[in-house]
């Protein structure tokens, strides 16, 4: 039950400060208000709307990763980052693949 891969002992916890958490929080508030107003006041239509909404959501995801989950502070080898990237790739494959197969490609009449 002993582990050896780590060359030096260190605490499992990630750091972060009140400042970084607060910045993250403010960012996420702003990034939530933007799409809400965009939708409620009908700023954009169709594709533009989708792009605005998705961009805000993805940005907010990044904000949470950096300011709340401290992904940037991970020590090497960065297994967390690697698994996250793999997970996101598979996620996109599932969602976009399903849309591509199920919605855009019907031979049926």
């Amino acid at each position: 039950m002993t582990q050896h891969d780590m060359t030096h002992p260190h605490d499992a916890e990630t750091q972060g400060s009140l400042k970084s958490y607060t910045i993250g929080f403010l960012f996420s508030i702003v990034l939530t208000i933007i799409p809400i107003t965009a939708v409620l006041y009908g700023w954009a239509e169709g594709m533009t709307n989708t792009i605005v909404l998705m961009t805000a959501a993805v940005l907010q995801f990044v904000v949470q990763l950096i300011y709340f989950m401290h992904l940037r502070e991970e020590k090497k080898p960065r297994y967390n980052l690697v698994t996250l990237i793999l997970g996101l790739i598979i996620l996109l494959v599932i969602v976009i693949g399903s849309m591509w197969i199920m919605l855009f490609n019907m031979v049926a009449t």
Partner: protein, 302 residues
């Protein structure tokens, strides 16, 4: 050390048997390799091309396996070299990353071309007007409707040779797969949508088709007779059916759709728009058949 010897014999023997089977005795009943229409013919050609291409790697590798196993077996007084630490050779590894890459590239290009050429809903090139036959998979029988002739059949389909047939395929039962091996590949039969499949028979003859996707209890009885005749014979058959067979009513269809196997049947008429009704029975709640863009358009119009 008799074992590797036996293994080698065994391997070559089984390949030989397979090869013999492929080339001789069974060819006649290997109907997939005995196509009677342009689609099945092209699909057969693709099978042969891909078999040859893959054999280019597989056969030498099988031979190489036998040679290596034979030559480097452990025995006293053997002359072959023993190099326990030899574990890397960039040259060799480049070769065997390279060979499959080349073969797969060639095969890939052929496949892509074939995929677009043999897209099932693509009309066949022909100077004759295609004949439309509407196919419904029921539990556990096939219903064929001829909208232009106004007749219907169960578990039997007739059409003239040399004329492209436009099959429109749906199901009023679990999903099935419509397959006439000698004329061409399958298409799923699914409720709520009508799939298009073009096939054509180049020769007169009697073939058979089946359901290829499991649908339940009497699934094994879902065969149908396929008969390709001359145009005159076909016309004559149509008028015979019209003259002598009963009409299929809506109640008749409901009875027919009850889960059970069925014999061959013919009907001189069928209810107007029956096929469309079958397709839309569930489609009202779906957007099957509509592309994403279509849905968006409808939304915008609303």
């Amino acid at each position: 050390m008799k074992r590797p010897n036996a293994l080698r014999w065994f391997a070559s023997l089984s390949m030989l048997v397979l090869l013999l089977l492929m080339t001789t005795g069974c060819t006649e009943s290997m109907i997939v390799l005995d196509p009677k229409g342009p689609i099945a013919e092209q699909q057969r050609d693709l099978m042969i091309i891909s078999t040859i291409l893959t054999s280019l790697v597989i056969v030498p590798v099988l031979i190489l396996t036998v040679i290596i196993v034979w030559r480097y077996r452990d025995r006293t007084g053997r002359k072959a070299k023993y190099a326990p630490d030899w574990e890397h050779s960039t040259k060799l590894e480049v070769i065997w990353w390279g060979i499959p890459i080349i073969i797969i590239t060639v095969l890939g290009l052929i496949t892509i071309k074939g995929t677009y050429a043999l897209e099932p809903s693509k009309p066949l090139e022909s100077d004759k007007k295609p004949l439309t036959i509407q196919v419904t998979s029921l539990d556990w029988k096939w219903l064929f409707q001829y909208p232009e002739q106004g007749i219907a059949t169960v578990n039997a389909v007739n059409f003239p040779e040399g004329v492209p047939i436009r099959f429109e395929i749906t199901a009023d039962s679990p999903m099935n797969s419509f397959w006439i091996p000698q004329l061409g590949g399958q298409m799923y039969a699914m409720s709520g949508m009508a799939m298009t499949l073009y096939l054509q028979a180049d020769e007169r003859g009697e073939y058979w088709g089946s359901g290829a996707n499991f649908t339940g209890k009497e699934f094994a009885k879902m065969y149908f007779d396929v008969k390709s005749t001359s145009q005159e014979e076909f016309d004559q058959w149509v008028s015979e059916v019209k003259a002598s067979s009963p009409a299929l009513t809506l109640e008749g269809y409901q009875q027919l759709a009850e889960p059970a196997a069925s014999d061959v049947k013919t009907f001189s008429a069928f209810p107007e728009g029956l096929f469309y009704m079958t397709v839309t029975k569930y489609a009202s709640s779906h957007n099957h058949g509509l592309s994403w863009e279509d849905i968006q358009k409808i939304k915008i119009q609303e």
